[in-house]
Amino acid sequence: MATSEKISAYERVQAARSSARPMGGHYIKHMIDNFIEFHGDRRFGDDAAIIGGIGFLNQKPVTVIAMERGNTIEERMKRKFGCPAPEGYRKALRLMKEAEKFKRPIICFIGSSGAYCGIDAEKRGQGEAIAENLFEMMGIKTPIISVIVGEGGSGGALALGICDTAIMLENSVYSVISPEGCASIIWKDSSKAPEAAEALKLTSHDLYDFGVIEKIIVESDRTTEEICSDLKSAIISEIFSKEKMSEEELLSARYEKFRKIGA
């Protein structure tokens, strides 16, 4: 692979979507000890597009919420290719509230083309589920670290993205709309997705420059093990620094992190 500066925005989009790219489940497996998965939103059902549970990060109890699209075709069908339904976001919020009660930091892994798009998802309030997460996560009193590991697709990604520190893997992307969607709406031509990807400024380097994310984990010339290990160290150090803050300081810094963006 070329050096990081020479990769085009659309090449990064493709890297972020690559079926070989590890998603949330991989990072849980390689980063969290004694992980126990918890299921269900206690309202409607369990959404396999989001894995939630508890475990140890370097001997520290944490709650982990991770988007996962699966590896085999069967698993991908079951996990809806990683596109969460309302019950997935509600499960995530339930587990975050539990983390708050037991004073555990929360780690969110984001990698999805977006919230699940379907009749049932609308029936069960896809918009309301995301809205509720944005609202409640602004008030969760323990540190939240969000890591974009794949495609950070719009509101469906942001629903796990209200955090104290946002980290992106270098070749992940984070955007308000897919380049294909943007190209087809603006230029009536989805084949102009590479131009749209460029225009949307959706790479980790763009978002770092905008102050939307705080950290980039370098990927070029690194193995998946090295990337995972760098990411683990970054998360540990972020949790360590956020835990030194009082609840009030933490929430006010979280508010300001988003308050300063735009106009």
């Binding site: 798009c117 009749i119 918009g127 602004m138 209200i162 709406i185 763009d206 978002l207 106009a263």
Partner: protein, 268 residues
Amino acid sequence: MKGIFDFLKIGADKTEVLCKKCGKETSRAKLEENYMICPECGAYLRMGAYERLEMITDKDTFEESDKDLKGGDPINFPGYDKKLDEARKNSGLPEGVVCGTAEIGGIKCALFVMDSKFMMGSMGSAVGEKITRLFENATKQKLPVVGFTTSGGARMQEGIFSLMQMAKVSGAVKRHSDGGNLYITVLTDPTTGGVTASFAMQGDIIIAEPGALIGFAGARVIEQTTGEKLPAGFQRSEFLLEHGFVDIIEERRRLKYTIANILAIHKK
């Protein structure tokens, strides 16, 4: 965007309008008298922000805030500056939301009213900033907030800045709520995408106008992606009421009365 009424076919003087739904003509004056509802078939015309404010607030009580606040072109998106100029010219508005304070039934509140004439009420940085400031001021002054939503969703020409407005506004709504203050949202046609997935659905009380399109994903996108046939009335107010996502569907002519009543019941 002229909603369901076709002004252009009738002539530039705009005194007569044609309802696209029933195809009948009506006079502009008659339409205004009738709360911008077609007197022939009962269809709801999309309302501009100032028309809405006139309908909802007590006479001469509205004080506008951040009237001239505009957003920039944060990601230098091709053609966006031109598009903004056009939107301003065509709508006569600097941005897609009007904010301020007013009295409704004698009770002071903070209001925001989105306007679909401005780039389909899409959420750019200026829209997010204006609504955030409104909530921050309402929190300080302990005022209830009444918000009218209409939006096609994100303003994609602002990229990640558009997406982050959902987070920014949500933070301000949360603080307002934590202060024990009331937030009423009125969902009007259409309320979709990122606005539905943030402040439209964060009200303590959620009211919808009859027949309004309200949803997260676009109906056509759902049909194309899943191949499923959409049920009748999909993503309309009545569908959301049935599935438990709005408190009340209220007729336009009764909206002011109902909002005033809710404000009175919550008066401290």
